[in-house]
């Protein structure tokens, strides 16, 4: 039942121009920055050969590409998640789900899985660019996988937060603006905390958990942070939808 809802969600995304334009625009910008990175790599190649333990093409091209992607998608994800629940409530199509023999958990998970599959496609398409370097060079596939995994976890977390904010309002634009605000706040929350990585704010920060993974360091604490982040927002969404049945 979760997959039924997820596949419809995914299908609807591709039936509207939204998914296509998001894929096209992100792909274009990321491709541009990818070329700049390659250009930069060529320009410093001479100096690299003189270094005793030089960073490879994976560190200098692939990882920055994922980093740029993460920032672009911080802005784009709210546009994808904004209509997940708010639009259904606005159109009245939520009544179909609510009067069907499916639980609230199944509805929320279905929507989440739908958007996550879309994110998987997005990560796959972004990863094609670094992978194309394999035609002329050797890549550290372990690091590449870590980067793709990090980006995927990040996008899943973004989606869960966006889904929750979409359940709070019937206005998609409000949902988009508030999810963007929340994500940006969580992204920069530790920027004024100095180097002390132990304080609470940096524990909350998405960036503090994403950056090590992007360097190829998959730490179980960081993975746990993303999993907890996702579960928290999904539970909040389910609770919110249940309480709407009581109040609305």
């Amino acid at each position: 039942m979760i997959m039924t809802i997820a596949m419809r969600e995914l299908r609807s995304m591709f039936l509207s121009p939204l998914a296509w334009s998001v894929l096209a625009v992100t792909q274009l910008i990321i491709a541009w920055s990818f070329f700049t990175q390659i250009d930069f790599f060529f320009s410093i190649q001479q100096q690299l050969t003189t270094m005793p333990n030089p960073p490879g093409v994976t560190d200098l091209v692939v990882m920055p590409t994922y980093e740029i992607a993460s920032i672009i998608l911080l802005m784009v994800t709210p546009l994808l998640t904004m209509r997940l629940i708010s639009e259904e409530r606005r159109n009245g199509s939520m009544a179909l789900l609510l009067s069907s023999p499916v639980s609230m958990t199944q509805i929320v998970l279905g929507k989440f899985v739908g958007i996550v599959i879309f994110m998987l496609i997005l990560v796959g398409m972004i990863s094609l660019m670094p992978l194309s370097l394999m035609m002329g060079s050797t890549l550290d596939l372990g690091k590449l996988a870590a980067g793709a995994f990090a980006l995927f976890m990040l996008l899943a977390a973004f989606s869960a937060a966006g889904l929750f904010l979409s359940s709070l309002t019937v206005n998609p634009v409000v949902a988009a603006v508030s999810s963007f605000g929340l994500l940006l706040l969580l992204w920069i929350i530790n920027s004024n905390s100095g180097d002390n990585g132990e304080n609470l704010l940096s524990q909350l920060s998405i960036l503090a958990h994403f950056a090590p993974m992007l360097r190829g360091l998959i730490n179980s604490a960081d993975v746990a942070y993303f999993v907890l982040f996702i579960v928290t927002f999904l539970v909040l969404t389910i609770r919110q939808m249940d309480s709407q049945r009581l109040q609305a």
Binding site: R11, S93, M94, S99, S100, R245
Partner: protein
């Protein structure tokens, strides 16, 4: 058919903040019933229907669908339910077939039976010609039909239709009424509408809700009996004096409406009244039974007066 009621509602209460939308409603629906649910705008019709379908949680009270408690086991209870809300729950970007297939899966129809169920629903709602069209491009009437198709797709025991004939043309309205009558033989149907003749032609029970409370509930046959009234409006060309009219044995009471028009209450049949009028040369040219039509009951109840019987 089981003896158990398809829907039983007990002391249903619903508040929106401090506003009481529905207060203490109780009723039952049996198989073969087509219940017309009437009430002025804002009386609580849609709120009640939404609670029956589980899209809105009641503040207090109990709802059993097919014997299963809707609040305890929503999954099992909702499986026996088909619901058409006020605005049909459609996805504009999907085509009719896609949409119905999705609904079929949501309603847990067996994979092997989905095609048959879709065929039947489309045929019943006259959707065969638009199977491949996008729902967003269909006219309001067709969208309404898709909404109805969605509600009857899994042939649920209980079908709840919130104003099903809105936006349909007269031919379609007739078809939908026929469909509802046909479905009513094997299912329990609750129908809300503002069109009173629709209730009279389709339903076998009627309920009127006003300001959140149930003010009238009756079978359609009881309503028909009430129509056999003993009050008649007559118009006379040569009206006699009131006392002369009262002297006629069959007349109990007279209320003058105008110089030549009266409401008379009689104790025997209308024929006797007519022959008395003819024999006395009153110049009778109009004789109309004062029926308790549904409309009259509706207006009396919702304007806060009592039905005069």
């Amino acid at each position: 058919m089981s003896s158990q009621a398809l829907i039983s509602v007990n002391n249903l209460v619903r508040y929106y903040g401090d506003v009481c939308a529905v207060s203490n409603i109780s009723f039952e629906l049996n198989a073969g019933d087509i219940l017309g649910f009437l009430g002025p705008n804002g009386a609580g019709k849609s709120t009640t229907m939404r609670m029956l379908c589980g899209t809105l949680a009641p503040t207090e009270g109990e709802i059993r669908i097919n014997g299963v408690d809707l609040l305890d086991k929503p999954g099992a209870a909702k499986a026996a339910l088909g619901y058409l809300p006020e605005t049909p729950p459609l996805y504009r970007e999907m085509c009719v077939d896609e949409y119905l297939r999705y609904c079929a899966k949501l309603r847990r129809i067996e994979k092997s039976q989905i095609d048959d169920a879709m065929e039947l629903a489309k045929q019943r709602c006259g959707l065969n010609d638009v199977s491949r069209r996008l729902i967003g491009n269909l006219s309001k009437g067709y969208q309404q039909r898709v909404g109805i198709a969605q509600a009857i797709l899994h042939s649920p025991e209980v079908i709840i239709l919130d104003e099903p004939t809105v936006g349909l043309d007269p031919i379609q309205i007739r078809e939908i009424r026929e469909l509802i009558t046909e479905l009513g033989t094997s299912h329990g149907i609750i129908l809300s509408t503002h069109i009173l003749p629709e209730v009279e032609s389709v339903c076998n029970r009627v309920q009127i809700i006003n300001e959140g409370t149930l003010v009238y509930a009756s079978g359609m046959d009881a309503l028909q009996e009430q129509k056999n009234t003993n009050r008649y409006e007559i118009a006379l060309r040569q009206p006699p004096a009131m006392d002369d009219m009262l002297a006629v044995p069959c007349i109990d009471q007279i209320e003058p409406l105008a110089a030549d028009r009266f409401i008379v209450q009689i104790n025997s049949s209308a024929e006797e009244l007519a022959s008395a009028a003819v024999n006395n040369h009153w110049g009778l040219h109009k004789l109309v039974a004062q029926e308790h039509t549904l409309e009259q009951i509706f207006v009396n109840l919702t304007l806060g007066e009592n039905v005069n019987t």
